[in-house]
């Protein structure tokens, strides 16, 4: 019995970039379904469907083997550290994970503070950076609109993804340090890849060919 194979695609910024690139490939997403509110989208290949998922949920679907393949930012991947395979760095969606401060506040200013508060969606990467720098800080975990935190006094600075810098600029923030770089990665369920390579590899090659 051959089971339908699911590929997890991220909603949002990365999803917006990858959907047009898949047009015309065997994994092109059904245009009518995309316009609807359904989150399980047929592809041009029978027996293969796409799931549209929030980036932070996506690795869990793949690690659990619900989706056999997925595309997700390396920032999310590192933050969640799930047990899955990373087949390729697709290169697109490149951005920086940066420490961002109100204009005029430097890294040295922050280092001099007796009590530092950092708001972030990326506590794991932030903790790792703090450890490397020999710093301690109170982390304020947020899931969205992180840029507001320094403006409203919730934190002294933020650690967040920066692509063009325009959102930072709009909130009077500047990059004080780059903690790491992120790009879209093709991930795969360990079980599916090791137990059914004949089904997974051709689909992975189509995705790499279309997206890398």
């Amino acid at each position: 019995m051959t089971r339908p194979l699911l590929i997890a695609f991220p909603k949002g910024r990365l999803g917006d970039e990858l959907v047009p690139r898949l047009a015309g490939t065997p994994l092109a997403l059904d245009a009518a379904a995309l316009k609807s509110r359904v989150l399980r989208i047929p592809t041009a290949t029978p027996g293969v469907a796409a799931l549209l998922l929030k980036g932070s949920d996506l690795p869990r679907y793949v690690a659990a083997g619900v989706a056999s393949l997925g595309i997700v930012g390396s920032d999310t991947l590192d933050e969640l550290d799930m047990d899955l395979l990373e087949l390729a760095d697709l290169g697109f969606g490149a951005c920086r994970l940066s420490l961002c401060t109100p204009a005029g506040v430097t890294l040295e200013h922050l280092q001099a503070r007796p009590h530092l508060r950092l708001a972030t969606k990326f506590p794991r990467a932030t903790e790792a950076w703090l450890a490397r720098e020999g710093l301690t800080a109170e982390l304020v975990p947020l899931s969205s609109s992180v840029e507001l935190a320094p403006l409203l006094g919730l934190a002294d600075a933020i650690v967040d993804l920066v692509q063009t810098g325009s959102t930072l600029k709009a909130h009077g923030l500047v990059e004080a340090a780059v903690l790491g770089r992120s790009s879209a990665r093709l991930v795969a369920a360990r079980g599916a890849t090791l137990s059914e390579p004949g089904r997974i590899k051709p689909l992975a090659e189509i995705l790499i060919g279309a997206l890398k």
Partner: protein
């Protein structure tokens, strides 16, 4: 935020009967090959690792048995001046799972092949591979995949390069994800970055079967790993002619699971469509010397809890009882 889903499964009639049947059949398979059962206590007083279910017995911190191999090694090192050569076990272990959907209480059957340190190990490794090859038929799995690896293929180059522990851990994590590009990212401008990235690419080569050993030609550590390559080559020569029809064989040069424990050949059993390995094992020659015994050992463990889950969710993968 860590997800904790304590999971102590109650097995109802069919699952309980299946567990009993599988345990009996596997123990009979092992007994027929000379493996005698030992049953270490459910409560261990060894240094308790993170993830174990701990409690105080008076003033002593103890834990429920979290691993049969560790429990047996402690028992053997304490009670036997000379090693019994073949040991089998069956029962439950308790440890907090890495993945939140896994059970805390897990049922296992397994075996350990123990030898004096000066005895060659090649035959014992092939013996274990042959035993594991017989397991799918005993369990009624229609098809299965045997993965052969060797922990030394990663261990020895990392030791030769004397990487700091943090960096070595990052390289192993990258290999666990099968991501050669991550090895490169992790090593940055380290002097060994080029060599270890090339090695990772060789280990992750798409070649399969006996041909996959040729991938090691492209590794900068080909000479260092000549002995391991010969060992794997001989094992393949011994195993391939007797491979059962229901079993596919894959050589997995980049197997790094349990790398802090395994020292040599590794074995894993999968079923097509399974999300987790159903049995795993390998050579672990450093454990007994750490316990003061000059013995070497290898073994494998059949993860019956995963098989019970698989039989529940994918009955089509099994023959009818």
């Amino acid at each position: 935020m860590p997800v904790r889903t304590p999971h102590f499964p109650d097995l109802l009639f069919d699952a309980a009967a299946r567990l009993r049947r599988w345990e009996d059949a596997l123990m009979a398979l092992l007994a027929a090959q000379g493996y005698r059962e030992l049953h270490p206590s459910l409560v261990l007083r060894e240094p308790v690792p993170e993830g174990a279910l701990r409690f105080f017995d008076g003033d002593d911190l103890v834990a429920l048995r979290w691993d049969f191999t560790v429990a047996l090694a402690g028992l053997l090192a304490r009670r036997f001046p000379d090693p019994p050569d073949r040991v089998a076990y069956a029962g439950a272990v308790f440890r907090r799972p890495v993945q939140p959907w896994e059970a805390v209480e897990r049922f296992e059957v397994g075996c350990e092949r123990i030898q004096p340190a000066d005895e060659p190990s090649a035959e014992a490794d092939v013996e274990l591979a042959r035993l594991l090859m017989a397991v799918p038929a005993v369990l009624g799995l229609k098809r299965a995949i045997l993965h052969l690896g060797n922990a030394a293929l990663v261990r020895r180059p990392l030791e030769a390069e004397n990487l700091p522990p943090g960096l070595a851990k990052a390289v192993v994590a990258a290999l666990s994800r099968r991501a050669a590009h991550r090895v490169h990212e992790a090593l940055g401008d380290h002097p060994a970055a080029g060599r270890l990235t090339a090695h990772a690419e060789a280990l992750l080569s798409d070649l399969d079967g006996p041909e996959s050993l040729k991938a090691l030609d492209a590794s900068p550590y080909a000479d260092l790993l000549a002995e391991e390559r010969d060992h794997m080559g001989r094992a393949l020569k011994a195993i391939l002619p007797i491979l059962p029809d229901r079993l596919d064989l894959r050589v997995d040069l980049a197997d790094v699971a349990g790398l802090d424990f395994y020292t040599g050949p590794t074995l894993r059993l999968w079923a097509p469509g399974a999300q987790q390995e159903l049995a795993a094992g390998g050579r672990y020659d450093r454990l007994f010397p750490e316990l003061g015994r000059p013995w070497r050992a290898a073994g494998f463990c059949v993860r019956l809890s995963r098989l019970l889950d698989l039989a529940g969710t994918r009955p089509d993968l099994f023959e009818l009882p």
